[in-house]
Symmetry: C2
Subunit: 329 residues, 2 copies
Amino acid sequence: MTSDDDTRQLADEVKVGSRAALGRAITLIESKRPDHEAAAQALLHTLLPDTGSAVRLGMTGMPGAGKSTLIEALGSKLTSDGHKVAVLAVDPTSQRTGGSILGDKTRMTKLAINENAFIRPSPAGTTLGGVARRTRETMLICEAAGYDVVIVETVGIGQSETTVAAMVDFFAVVQVAGAGDELQGIKKGVLEIADLIIVNKADGDNLKRAQQAVAEYRAALNILTPADPLWQPQVLAVSALYDTGLDELWKIVGRHGRIMRDAGALAEKRREQQVGWMWALLEDRLKLAVSRHPLLASRLPALEVAVREGTMTPTAAVNEIIRELGLQK
Amino acid sequence: MTSDDDTRQLADEVKVGSRAALGRAITLIESKRPDHEAAAQALLHTLLPDTGSAVRLGMTGMPGAGKSTLIEALGSKLTSDGHKVAVLAVDPTSQRTGGSILGDKTRMTKLAINENAFIRPSPAGTTLGGVARRTRETMLICEAAGYDVVIVETVGIGQSETTVAAMVDFFAVVQVAGAGDELQGIKKGVLEIADLIIVNKADGDNLKRAQQAVAEYRAALNILTPADPLWQPQVLAVSALYDTGLDELWKIVGRHGRIMRDAGALAEKRREQQVGWMWALLEDRLKLAVSRHPLLASRLPALEVAVREGTMTPTAAVNEIIRELGLQK
């Protein structure tokens, strides 16, 4: 799968919605073989004009928040409403575990066999950036394949929420009222990027606590100045188990999309995301080049130790690195 | 001021507390002349063993929050308690205005003539990173000069709060209850990094509103999981005008310092900050090198436009940049 003809043919098969072609295309995106990487970029280039039409929805939540159940319920609702739904994952732990704990078909048994849904686990990778790049490019392939809703999920580990928020139109945080009267804390940094806080498991004995949680999260959001003047983050109680609140959830996503589109803010947000993505990737690659540079590979650890121990200023260390790279202005 | 002897002599004069030497040292740090930059690094290297002994206090607040009045009142209290206080500034606007609106002596008339206080406006700079580097290195010089409290202030513009938080031990956000019953919104990202929210102007007609604000900020902080398990961010009402709450403010800073030191967390936090600083500087320099690269300077804008418009994937653009730089792995 290297020639231009092969690329064009695979692109065509993806566009007409062949699941087999979609799978092959994603495998190509996830491959680390240099010739595959080149072919993957050629494929993406061919498909770019057919991307961008989906609603890009990001979702995060701690283990136990019921994220999978919620995505399964929402995904089933959307497909029965005539949508084609892709569920992708950015799982920072997959680089350690090798396998993925997200987008796992065994967690979404109904969606897994739904012909209008496509579930792809998180690719393995050595860096969050690498995992995220593949997921982001897989999202584009899914859009070209006609999926009009892409849900990108992540667990709240490290910077993964920020990474996912940077590739979607709308970012939701799934919380649970939690046992006892203890309100489940929202991880720092996440409140800042949430367009919506979903209080899940708002059913049975949990209902009262969930409603209380909604009120408290609302109060907290009210003292923050919204990141986007066009949108005041919302709080919504749902029950994935009993399918309550999911219509309202989708209405909120839709309202956000309309407001952003009408103001031309959605297109601009995506353009900004693409440029931000380019610079983030470049930083990753430059750091990689630095750490692999023949003259620096051996020296870098010593420099980092000296800076860490305070025997060398960061400026002096950086000056030396830049000199070694031959990038001196 | 280039030879090693000059450096050693200036270092000695700084260490015995000569204000003139301190001024000359900082001028050297702020200079953009290559030979001055080299001399500045040599000076810093000589002084490093004498740094790190101060309490590093970061403070941010919107214009009108009464930050200057608060710093003047706190600084005066601390000097009368026997402390030597340095007030530095990271002002992202100084790169535009040329001059600085922070650390301005005319704003702190009492401190400006206080022999145990040292006020230095924000250096001019073309990037926030450049401004911050000079301020951070000035902080080290002040520590070597015997200042045991360094207050770094900034206005809430761009990333300046995060930048300041990354160079101090304790970060405080100054808010006002505000006119009417409107609670003053906290800028996103700032709530996340605050060790303390100071509700200023808690006096006269404002007292009730201030106490109400304290309660609401507390409630908001309670739904966030603390960034550091050792410290739950505090909220405190003060009146810089009537000198109320300043003792309690300093007690909180002290308690935070003790808790962090006893757990060995303060030293580790500073080590992490130094390494983080090194990588942030390296990123700045690498990006600068990219934008100034002869082969890329002309090509980069076109690449960024293609990525922005979605006609090129970020990955493809970055691959081309890396190739041009000759940094291909």
